[in-house]
Amino acid sequence: MLPAVLYLTVFIAYPFLMAIWLGLTDAEAGHLKWNFVGLDNYSKVVSYEVRANDFVVATVPTRAEADALVQARGSAKLETTPEGPLFRTSVAIAGRTIPLIAMDSVSDAEFQADTVLNEFQWQVSPGKGGFAVVAHAKDESIRLGPFPNRAALKRALESTFLVKTDTQIRTNGTGVVQDPNFRLAVVNTFKYTFGTEILKLMIGVPCALLLNRKFGARRLLRGLVVIPWVIPIAISAQAWLWILDSTYSVINWCLVHWGIVSPANIVNFRGDPQWAMFSVVLVNVWRGFPFTAIVILAGLTAIPDEILERARLDGANAFQRFLYIISPMVRPILMVSLLFSVIFSFTDFNTIWIITKGGPFDQTQVLSTYAYQLGVNAGYLGKGAATSLFMFPLMALMVFLILRFLRKEA
């Protein structure tokens, strides 16, 4: 009993516990002392900001009145009056006075009101109480803040805007949740995982169906198809580096020679932000689809011949046999393969690190590479650990969903 517990603790749990502990400290390369900081690495808000857009200037009963208001914008005037400790700026337009904004300095209030009046686009949109005149910012919306804490934020939100508006609260801080690069990495991780899984299925399923047919070279092909999966990624990725090279890419060479693209428009697979994610997904799919195909093939061979023969007698054509018999019977094993595949792709580091190192402009930065960049390359061990630990709940959720599906099937 004791040796087993010791083994489990030391060999399995220690690295994981170490990562958890690192995630709770301000560990940094070069610092002699690492202090416990709680959950600050995960989320620490320093200040709040408010972005406001879509100011509902007025709601009028008819479209003509609304149009008249928009027309009258050129001759509108701003009026500012003190209101307690604040200054309130109203828009005087077409005989109406509409209180718009209240702030603690005259110039701030007038500047923001002026932006809404003159920089924003005024639109008429039909709504419940009639027609609303809405001031919409195409690029820069109104910014308030930063506020040091929630109380100040709340006070500002309650007092500042005097008409209905669409507000968003942004947080600035030092935790990874506040880090825009981290958020990008989360999005990229999901793009990478789902992109590869869908493509692996789209290639793996027909491949398995093909390998399940009886033909002469079947055994040979079954052997060949696993090659991408068994070659060490460090070696095969070198080949892919050349295939996707900006100058010597064989894909581009073919496209140019077949006259599909001109030499001036060749794709920079690893350098172009539009193509980089596609490139790493392609390499992962190339490497991962044999696993999907082989697992599905195992599921296909497990279907007794008699069942397929009965389906033929029952009058099912090839497509109906696939739809009604084969795919429901293969589905459980397919979900198991998907489960493994999702875990591999979600935590994949090698492929991306070899092909793009997360670039260009972080377009292929996923959680694992970002954690490495942050924790090892940049030396912020605590934040790196916190970033990598974020994968844990996300993956647990996906695994839970797949397992629940499997249980329902069985």
Partner: protein, 361 residues
């Protein structure tokens, strides 16, 4: 009308002929059993009728229409497989309705047919279960039900009872026979079990090495087997065989077995020349233990080897001068190994086969 006619049907795998020229006519609504040892071509023949195997020669017609090159679904057949072949992810209801749904039948009609078949087979309470939740016998009945729903002209059975335990097999045998009496389909049934063949079929087709040995009613096949193979295959315990030679002519015709045993041949229609090599076959129940000898009953001394009691009867293996033999006899308490006994061969029930051609004489 669903008469099935096979004309010179052949199946070759390269140089090997699995089925070598089968001619057979199965009459409408007949229950025909294909029986034979494994590898005799009976299953291949059935699968060719079903359309699951290509025919390499000859013609198959169902209901007067050649179906040799039609796909299985257009042949007016339904089949019950050895492993039941139920779709594991579908309920019993869907399993039975599947082929009807594919044919685009109206829902009400499907429902009526499924419920009717379920009622016949006692499956009405199980319709919402999945095959996993059924016993072997219930699965078997679902497989039969799925075939019944089709209301096809011909029902094919491929060893459907071989996965059941012995008791259930006997029960299902009766059920299937009763089913045949109540539905209007022609049935072709493959089995390697000669008891199933004897008890169930209107006629049995005994096959060996890809060829038909005999087509006959069960009793005909039992009473007058066409060749030595049929004689040995039909009946338990199997017929006893002894090598022998013909002697004499006409009324004085007799056969001499090893060890000097001489049996008169009571049917002088055999016009074999003296000295012809033959095989003598006599069923265990036609050898009596004790009693009196007379015209057709010939006394042969023997020594008991093994006694296998079966209740009121026993199978006794004994050794006579001509060789080992088995007899079926009412159990006598005094039968013991190494005990000398007198056996009486009923020569009126004796079968003679040519030793070369193995055909009945």
């Amino acid at each position: 009308m669903a008469e099935v006619v096979l004309t010179g049907v052949e199946k070759r795998f390269g140089d090997v002929a699995a089925v070598a020229g089968v001619d057979l006519t199965v009459r409408d609504r007949e229950f025909v059993i294909l029986v034979g040892p494994s590898g005799c071509g009976k299953t291949t023949t059935l699968r060719m009728i079903a359309g699951l195997e290509d025919v390499t020669g000859g013609d198959i017609s169902i209901g007067g229409r050649s179906v040799t090159h039609l796909p299985p679904k257009d042949r007016d057949i339904a089949m019950v497989f050895q492993s039941y072949a139920l779709y594991p992810h579908m309920t019993v209801y869907r399993n039975m309705a599947f082929s009807l749904q594919l044919r685009g039948m109206r829902k009400a009609e499907i429902d009526r047919r499924v419920k009717e078949a379920a009622a016949i087979l006692g499956l009405s309470d199980l319709l919402q279960r999945k095959p996993r939740a059924l016993s072997g016998g219930q699965r078997q009945r679902v497989a039969v039900g799925a075939a019944l729903c089709r209301q096809a002209g011909v029902l094919l059975f491929d060893e459907p009872l071989s996965n059941l335990d012995a008791k259930l097999r006997v029960h299902m045998r009766t059920e299937l026979k009763r089913l045949h009496q109540s539905v209007k389909s022609t049935m072709i049934y493959v089995t390697h079990d000669q008891v199933e063949a004897m008890t169930m079929g209107d006629r049995i087709v005994i096959m060996d090495k890809g060829k038909i040995c005999q087509v006959a009613t069960p009793l005909e096949a039992y009473r007058s087997p066409a060749n030595r193979f049929v004689a040995g295959f039909i009946g338990t315990p199997p017929m006893n065989f002894f090598d022998g030679e013909l002697r004499g002519e006409g009324a004085g015709l007799s056969v001499v077995l090893g060890g000097g045993v001489v049996l008169p041949v009571p049917r002088p229609r055999i016009t074999g020349s003296s000295g012809r090599a033959v095989v003598v076959g006599i069923r265990p129940e036609h050898i009596r233990l004790g009693g009196q000898g007379n015209g057709t009953r010939v006394k042969v001394p023997a020594v008991i080897d093994v006694v296998e009691p079966l209740g009121h009867e026993a199978i006794v293996t004994a050794r006579c001068d001509a060789g080992l033999l088995q007899i079926e006899t009412e159990l006598h308490g005094e039968l013991k190994p190494r005990q000398p006994v007198e056996l009486f061969f009923d020569t009126a029930q004796m079968h003679l086969f040519d030793r070369q051609t193995e055909l009945a004489l």
